[in-house]
């Protein structure tokens, strides 16, 4: 598995890059100020004074001292003014992004997964997926952020700052990746039991690869090729799975849970809680509550043979 960047200091996009520059500026000045203040403190502690055991208090020296206090206050004000200018300039800079013709994604935060929808002018070319966002390198992507239940927060530190998803209002965020790679994201606003396991991936690919991926996602689910896969599909359609999940190309069309049409093409399952391997998928389906206690997916109570067939079918949904 490729390395997943997840740090505000390890950036791969212009938004995060600008913020990182601001961080180093702030950090540099603050470090200098801190060292200076501590130097004054240490000097105040260790500087030589005539030894004096008397308890008589001193009052003298106010005026001179206050001059230094005043100088300190002025210097503080000047530095803060500089910080303010830097902050506002960076804030403006975050909006300076070439947005004509940018791709629009609608991301809906749900407890505890991300519904990703690639918008298109033609409704038949709209793609719905979950928990994994692909973006073309070097092109800005506009995220329209919505929440369907509680407040979540979309945060992929290597690419941009975070934005809350608030029920009742749409918020927006521009992201752009300047180089290919896999970037980890996570929910950053406490949203209930499994807030810790509400993660997602942003995968930046060269534009040609991205287009190919998107075309693949538009297609309906592949037909089952083996008997076991066919049996798995039967288990899916006859059981409780169909009440919540969509697999385009079958009769399953519910939107309560994530779209599974191309489940096998994703790197993780359960919103980043587990890698997408056969064993993890089987464990997840057999008992979601063990992996993500409190998750909205009930325990399906399948006999082992049915479970294996179902997993085989799901693994075929590339």
């Amino acid at each position: 598995m490729s390395e997943k960047l997840n740090s505000a200091l390890d950036t791969a996009g212009p938004q995060a890059g600008r913020i990182e520059d601001l961080w180093w500026l702030l950090f540099g000045f603050c470090a200098v100020v801190f060292v200076a203040v501590m130097a004054v403190l240490v000097a105040a502690l260790v500087r030589r004074r005539t030894p004096d055991e008397s308890m008589e208090p001193t009052y003298a020296g106010q005026r001179t001292a206050l001059r230094y206090v005043g100088a300190g206050v002025l210097a503080t004000g000047a530095i803060l003014l500089g910080f303010l200018i830097a902050s506002v300039t960076t804030d403006r800079g975050l909006d300076e992004i070439e947005t004509g013709g940018a791709r629009v994604l609608t991301i809906t935060g749900r407890q505890w997964w991300w519904e990703i929808r690639y918008e298109d002018a033609r409704p038949d070319r709209v793609v719905v997926t979950a928990n994994e966002i692909h973006v073309p390198v070097g092109q800005p992507v506009l995220l329209r952020l919505r929440a369907s239940d509680v407040i979540h927060s979309f945060w992929v530190p290597s690419l941009a700052g975070k934005r809350d998803l608030i029920p009742g209002r749409d918020t927006g965020l521009w992201i752009q990746a300047n180089r290919p790679g896999t970037f980890q994201g996570q929910c950053a606003e406490f949203c209930g039991y499994q807030h810790a396991h509400m993660r997602f991936l942003v995968i930046a690919q060269p534009p040609a690869e991205f287009d190919a991926w998107l075309e693949g996602q538009r297609a309906s689910a592949p037909e089952p090729a083996t008997d076991e896969e066919r049996r798995g599909r039967e288990v899916f359609l006859a059981g409780s799975c169909v009440m919540c999940h969509t697999i385009r190309g079958t009769a399953a069309g519910s939107i309560v849970g994530p779209d599974l049409t191309h489940l096998a093409s994703r790197q993780t399952i359960a919103a980043g809680a587990r890698p997408n391997t056969r064993d993890h998928l089987a464990a997840w389906v057999a008992d979601p509550q063990r992996t993500k206690p409190g998750a909205r997916m009930p325990v399906p109570e399948l006999p082992p043979a049915d479970l294996q067939a179902l997993v085989t079918y799901l693994r075929s949904l590339r």
Binding site: A238, S240, M243
Partner: protein, 184 residues
């Protein structure tokens, strides 16, 4: 006939007036309110088995115990509310007020109000349109449904009932209701 419960309609009442009250649709005496008020009170007041004149559904002791676990658990009732909305029970039962399907917020329980009765309704389906959810909902989901439906009928403790949902509210939350209403 929006709001009308087929089983309280004129034909049923006419039959009742002629003494033909036996088991019109699996319930019992149609000449009086159903269920009799004292049974509702007794059931709500205690969780012990109540001998009743209802004929619908068996009183399976294991199922009854399981039901009371869900009945006393605010989270389970809230989950039931969520499934109710997610699986579009509103499509026929309209947030409990009833439309194509009977109202769930009143005190008319065609197939009984005991937890196992309601579970049977959900799992087996019922005549005239209630689908069977056998295999479509897990046992846990079914019992959560049961708990929520009982809360709609005002049969649970007030502190366990779910609050209003964060959606357009066409009705009051169960907690704000004083007691089950007669549907008319």
């Amino acid at each position: 006939m929006i709001g009308d419960d087929f089983y309280s309609s004129a034909p049923a009442r006419a039959l009742a007036a002629r003494g033909r009250t036996g088991n019109v649709c699996g319930y019992g005496d149609y000449a009086q309110d159903s269920p009799p008020a004292e049974i509702v009170r007794a059931d709500a007041a205690s969780r012990t088995a109540v001998l009743s004149e209802l004929r619908a559904g068996p009183g399976n002791p294991t199922e009854r115990k399981r039901a009371s676990l869900y009945d006393d658990n605010a989270w389970a009732v809230s989950e039931g509310q969520r499934w109710f909305q997610a699986f579009n029970c509103n499509g026929c039962h309209a947030n409990g007020g009833g439309c194509i399907g009977p109202a769930l917020m009143d005190d008319v329980w065609i197939y009984g109000f005991e937890p196992e009765n309601i579970r049977a309704t959900i799992i087996e389906g019922r005549p005239n349109g209630m689908p069977s959810f056998r295999g479509r909902v897990t046992e846990q989901q079914a019992w959560e449904f049961v708990a929520y439906v009982r809360s709609l009928g005002g049969l649970l403790r007030k502190d366990v009932e779910p609050g209003r949902s964060d959606s357009t509210n066409a009705r009051l939350a169960p907690q704000s209701l004083q007691k089950p209403r007669q549907s008319e």
